[in-house]
């Protein structure tokens, strides 16, 4: 190319580009047809691994695992007073199993004979054993979750014949059976995955990271990390009613404003992570169906490190609990989309359930009096930390708390911690004052308290709270639940709730909502303990 030609081409390109005018998107009839059979979901982020047993699989990955795999057991549905479908904690129904016999120290499952994996291989008892062995052996989150139901060793899973599996109990635990119905104990095509396993990777995690090997109602046909996941219905699905939607496209749209625009323009069918403000406005506009459900067994709280002054003094903690601007947080941060966990009338009887509201409400006079009594008449200085990964809620919340605490003399500096760093900082258990959320898949009060308040100091006991009385109540409730002693169980539950509200190592603020917005022609949304979408029941009308 010589310089004359170069100049000519540059000018020509520039002119060409100037003349180019965009044509609006064009949709022909065939496309419209296919759109009617496709459900478009938009959300902020997507999976990093489609196998929940993988190293560091993120929460969107759980959704893929849930919908593409089958488990021995599942849950039935119940309908609440507003007509909303919720999973029923107490209705455990068979999925891959057709029959379950629970004995004293074991449970025996008879498998369905017609169930097949996506590649057509029949599901056998060996696949079940291999998959459960894998869940308790790979380490990390899956193994931890299995342990929560006292499922710890491969020896617990015994193959009796091709279609019968026995699960032996290590100890009596009421959570063992529910724990077999969560996302983790999914049944994987063992022959297929074993053929891809290597010496360094005996469980074939590298293969299942990007390849489905399940027997679920949907299969992943395309996955572009960070962009989209495309599913197609498993036409051989026999473990429940045939799902209505043939094809599901899940696109990642990082900008919340655009997700809302997509919904309002009718281009996207479902979105479930929009800011609360958008949900409230969409609800008021009435063009979309908005479903809000409280997180089961989940609470946003203000935690305090009880090992160090000033928060080692229960009076100081109570003072903080009286100085939190609860209602302002509900109105200005959450726009009412949360269930208050404060302000119960004094004298309200404690119930054997969780979460439940405390009797605290904003009372600055009382807070000052408590601080004076504790020996801090002029207050003190401290830092208030939060996770920037959830800044949309955490930041305004902390600003309101800071402002209110200043009125009683507690001067706080806000410490914003990036998402990548949050768990490291939290696990050090050195943050004096912070806000965080805990929620458990298994919806039992003693489960929540065991992780968050027990003296064995799990990672969720972020306050380092230690109390032999508390441990006594929690252990008592677990034992009573396993033995089926309702009276003792309720007494222990009330005991630990009362003590948690008296000692207040953490101040419950509210129960967050899962908000899902969908088009009017989309129905069948079900709330599940994992709070992700179950595609099987969704219906899209033309």
């Amino acid at each position: 190319m010589n310089r004359r030609e170069f100049l000519k081409t540059t000018t020509a390109t520039a002119l060409g580009a100037a003349a180019g005018v965009a044509a609006p998107a064009f949709i022909n009839k065939a496309q419209a047809q296919s759109r009617a059979e496709t459900l478009l979901i938009v959300s902020e982020s997507g999976p990093n691994n489609i196998d929940i047993h993988g190293v560091g699989t993120n929460v969107p990955g759980y959704e893929v695992s849930w919908n593409t795999n089958a488990r021995l057991l599942s849950h039935g549905m119940k309908t609440d007073e507003t007509g909303k479908q919720l999973y029923d904690r107490d209705a455990i129904i068979p999925e891959l199993a057709e029959d379950m016999t629970v004995g004293d120290m074991s449970a025996t499952f008879k498998l369905r004979k017609d169930a097949t994996f996506h590649d057509g291989t029949p599901v056998t008892a060996r696949d079940v054993k291999w998959s459960l062995d894998r869940a308790v052996s790979v380490g990390g989150f899956p193994t931890f979750q299995m342990k929560a139901g006292s499922l710890e060793k491969p020896e617990q899973f015994v193959v009796l014949d091709d279609h019968t599996v026995r699960v032996d109990f290590l100890r009596k635990d009421r959570l063992t059976i529910p724990d077999l119905a969560v996302i983790v104990p999914c049944v994987i095509n063992s022959e297929l995955v074993k053929s891809k396993a290597t010496a360094e990777d005996p469980w074939g995690l590298d293969y299942t990271k990007v390849n489905g090997a399940g027997a679920g109602a949907y299969k992943v046909v395309k996955w572009t990390a960070g962009t989209e996941v495309v599913y197609e219905r498993n036409e051989d699905w026999k473990l429940g009613p045939m799902p209505k939607v043939k094809r599901i496209v899940w696109r990642m749209v990082p900008s919340a404003g655009n997700r809302r625009a997509l919904l309002e323009r009718g281009d996207a069918d479902i979105s479930y992570d929009l800011p609360n403000k958008d949900f409230v406005e969409l609800k008021d506009a009435g063009k979309l169906n908005i479903v809000s459900t409280p997180y089961s067994n989940g609470v946003q709280y203000l935690g305090m490190n009880v090992t160090k002054p000033p928060f080692d003094n229960p009076l100081v903690r109570q003072a903080v609990a009286c100085a939190v601007p609860y209602q302002k947080i509900m109105d200005a941060v959450l726009f009412g989309l949360a269930k208050p966990m404060f302000g119960a009338a004094p004298g309200t009887p404690t119930e054997a359930k969780w979460p439940q509201a405390t009797t605290f409400s904003t009372d600055l006079e009382k807070a000052k009096a408590l601080l004076t009594e504790a020996g801090y008449p002029d207050g003190f200085e401290t830092t208030l930390s939060f996770d920037l990964g959830f800044a949309g809620v955490n930041e305004p919340l902390c600003v309101l708390v800071q402002e209110s605490l200043a009125k009683v003399g507690i001067r706080t500096t806000i410490n914003k911690i990036p998402g990548a760093n949050w768990r490291t900082e939290l696990n050090k258990k050195e943050l004096p004052l912070y806000t965080n959320v805990f929620s458990g898949w298994l919806d039992y009060p003693e489960y929540f308290f065991f992780w968050c308040y027990h003296g064995n100091n799990s990672v969720f006991n972020t306050m380092s709270y230690q109390s032999p009385t508390m441990d006594g109540f929690i252990d008592g409730a677990r034992a009573a639940a396993a033995a089926g002693d309702t009276a003792a169980y309720e007494a222990d539950c009330k005991g630990f709730v009362d003590l948690a509200f008296k000692d207040v190592p953490r101040i419950p603020l509210y129960q967050p909502y899962v908000n899902v917005a969908m088009q009017k022609n989309v129905s069948g949304y079900q709330y599940w303990f994992h709070r992700r979408l179950d595609y099987r029941a969704l219906v899209k009308e033309a």
Binding site: R3, P24, A25, L40, N49, G140, K209, E228, R423
Partner: protein, 337 residues
């Protein structure tokens, strides 16, 4: 020419080695613990240690570095933990997406900025000079995500002229067969005009956003450079000899003004390629900028290292290209070299 290129490439090696070392060290001193992040919310300290071990993060820094360099020499950039895929694969699919968008944005920008700059210089002090000043100031002072959201609001939400801002293609279409990785080119190579139209309808709005953002430097540089050339002796001579004004301005003045403009274009291009992360976020564009930022947030070392390295190589190639273009445009550069 070839010898010159090879010589230039030779000088690049030390800077690339520097980039490799610096990015490696920088990613290790970043706050945040990838093991804790990827162990999940329910991780026990033992689980975190287990993950640390499986990621090789418990080994001494020097050992980690050597392992990294050995992998790098084999073309292996490691695996991203956030997306779960090899970094090499991600970069080769995402870089074309960003490059296509950036190039189109640059073309849009040039189509407006070059004539505007030339006219502003020729009619210095006139209304068109003021217009160019206003446009350039507005372009650079509006944050790019704001322009993007505004354009989405107007052209998608209100008018409906643009399709949903959901990446490179509507979900109904599947990607064209990969030749260049540029959807506009690949769809034409396949002869699929409908696909081309679909890809174009997705790209024009983000390209316009980027174009508006990069108007300022190109307009100002064109204007300044043209002013200097127009004041020079040879232009005066050309005018005195009675050459038509169009010929004086385009053939003589503009060509001589091109050198600094090309330099600016190169800088703007490489700057845009890395900095269009906000546009990528607004338009859900699967580009390299948003990939790197997400990795950074998650303390995901491999993609960050891969991204910086890819950018460094790209920068080097771009500078080389510009140097070659200098020679094509201005023979004096060749002779002096």
């Amino acid at each position: 020419m070839l010898g010159k290129i090879l010589k230039r490439l030779g000088t690049v090696v030390p800077s690339l080695i520097g980039v490799v070392i610096v990015t490696f060290l920088l990613t290790r001193v970043m706050p945040g613990d990838p093991a804790a992040y990827f162990a999940g919310p329910a991780a026990t300290p033992e689980a975190i240690e287990e993950i640390r071990r499986s990621l090789g993060l418990d080994r001494p820094l020097l050992e980690q570095f050597l392992a990294y360099v050995v992998d790098l020499a084999q073309g292996d950039l490691g695996t991203s933990l956030t997306t779960g895929l090899p970094v090499m694969h991600e970069i080769t699919t995402r870089l074309p997406a960003s490059a296509e968008l950036t190039l189109l944005g640059l073309i849009v920008s040039m189509a407006i900025a070059l004539p505007l700059g030339v006219l502003a210089a020729v009619r210095q002090g006139s209304w068109i000079d003021h217009l160019s000043r206003v446009i350039a100031t507005a372009g650079v002072s509006l944050p790019v995500f704001f322009t993007g959201l505004l354009l989405v609001y107007v052209f998608y939400f209100i008018l409906g002229w643009a399709p949903a801002p959901m990446g490179r293609l509507d979900f109904f279409f599947s990607d064209p067969e990969r030749v260049t990785g540029f959807f506009l080119i690949d769809s034409l190579l396949m002869g699929d005009l409908e696909l081309f139209r679909a890809a174009f309808s997705q790209i024009w709005l983000p390209a316009l956003t980027l174009g508006i953002f990069s108007l300022a430097p190109i307009t100002r540089m064109t204007r300044a450079s043209m002013l200097a050339v127009l004041a020079s002796d040879f232009v005066r001579t050309a005018r005195a000899n009675g050459l038509p004004p169009g010929k004086v301005v385009i053939t003589y003045a503009f060509r001589n003004a091109l050198l600094p403009i090309i330099t600016t274009l190169g800088m703007v291009f490489s700057f845009l390629l890395g900095a269009n992360v906000l546009v990528e976020k607004v338009f859900a564009w699967p580009g390299i900028g948003s990939y790197a930022v997400e990795a950074l947030i998650a303390s995901d070392f491999a993609p960050v290292q891969g991204f910086v390295l890819a950018m460094a190589i790209l920068y080097v190639l771009l500078n080389l290209l510009i140097d070659i273009l200098y020679g094509v445009i201005d023979p004096r550069v060749r002779i002096e070299a």
